[in-house]
């Protein structure tokens, strides 16, 4: 018997609930939960929901970016950053999750999915150090 991957289950849930509202959506969700309970997969609910969120984001053109900076970004800079990320990932919507990290010294570090864009001064210094001491 083939094992059910979290991604496959999430995709099946997405397909089952897609374009549904009200009673139909409720029924589809109930069937989904019953299926998980039946297959003893309720312990993996949080992972499945994360995958489902990724699928929905992908389908709806939403990009979630975790941004780390040494100092809090101004509203103007956040708006500029959203614009840049939208253009880079051709996204309809960008959700920023910002955090301060003094060790970065300057610049910013962005993580979108598995991709990390490191534009921090600490990273530049580390690169310089590696370049000077191979």
């Amino acid at each position: 018997m083939a094992t059910l991957s979290t991604k496959n289950i999430a995709y099946a849930l997405y397909e089952a609930t897609k374009d549904k509202q009200g009673k139909d959506l409720e029924t589809a969700l109930s069937n989904g939960v019953a299926f998980l309970a039946n297959k003893h997969l309720l312990s993996r609910t949080s992972e499945i929901l994360r995958e489902l969120e990724k699928i929905i984001d992908e389908k709806e053109g939403v990009v979630r970016a975790r941004v780390e900076t040494s100092r809090k970004l101004t509203k103007g800079m956040e708006a500029e950053l959203e614009k840049e990320i939208k253009e880079r990932y051709k996204a309809k919507e960008v959700h920023l999750d910002t955090a301060e990290n003094r060790t970065l010294l300057g610049g910013l570090k962005i993580q979108v999915g598995d991709e990390v864009i490191d534009l921090t001064l600490s990273h530049k210094l580390a690169q310089l150090q590696n370049h000077l001491t191979p």
């Binding site: 100092r71 010294l105 300057g106 610049g107 534009l119 001064l121 210094l125 000077l132």
Partner: protein, 163 residues
């Protein structure tokens, strides 16, 4: 003749008897003394002759043995000399070989020492370089900690699209 016989009172009978007596004594002497004595003398002469022959033979044998001994000794001397000379040559060759090996070993040791020294030098320079760079980076980090990096942050925000 008669007067002579009368003068000397020669009695032919006595003379004959004495002659017979003499012959008997002579015969007795011959058989009992002279013959064994002659035999004894002959045997002694033979023994002496044999002794002389043996002595001669022994002298010849001794001379031959002496010659053989001298020959063997001379040969042994020559062989010993040759062995000694060969030994000297071998020892010289061995010494030269050992010297050559020792020379090579010393050269290898010097080369290895030089290599080790060179690698140690390179290692030391690399370590010093690393430490200097680490110090420079640390100092830069310290300097940047209190710097206002707003303009840099803005530049980086604009570079996100191309990064």
């Amino acid at each position: 003749m008669d007067s002579f016989i009368a003068t000397f009172h020669i009695d032919w009978k006595i003379i004959v008897a004495q002659a017979i007596n003499f012959v008997v004594v002579l015969a007795v002497l011959y058989f009992l003394a002279l013959k064994p004595l002659k035999k004894l003398m002959r045997e002694r002469s033979e023994r002496i002759a044999k002794g002389l022959d043996d002595a001669k033979h022994n002298a010849t044998l001794l001379a031959a043995t002496q010659k053989e001994y001298d020959d063997v000794l001379a040969k042994a001397r020559i062989e010993a000399h040759e062995i000694f000379q060969q030994g000297k040559i071998d020892a010289q060759a061995k010494r030269d070989e050992m010297m050559e090996e020792a020379k090579k070993d010393v050269e290898t040791m010097i080369a290895n020492g030089k290599k080790t020294l060179e690698s140690e030098k390179v290692k030391m320079v690399e370590e010093a370089k690393k430490e200097i760079v680490a110090l420079v980076v640390k100092a830069t980090e310290k300097l940047l900690e209190d710097e206002d990096t707003k303009s840099y942050d803005e530049q980086m925000v604009k570079r996100v699209k191309k990064a």
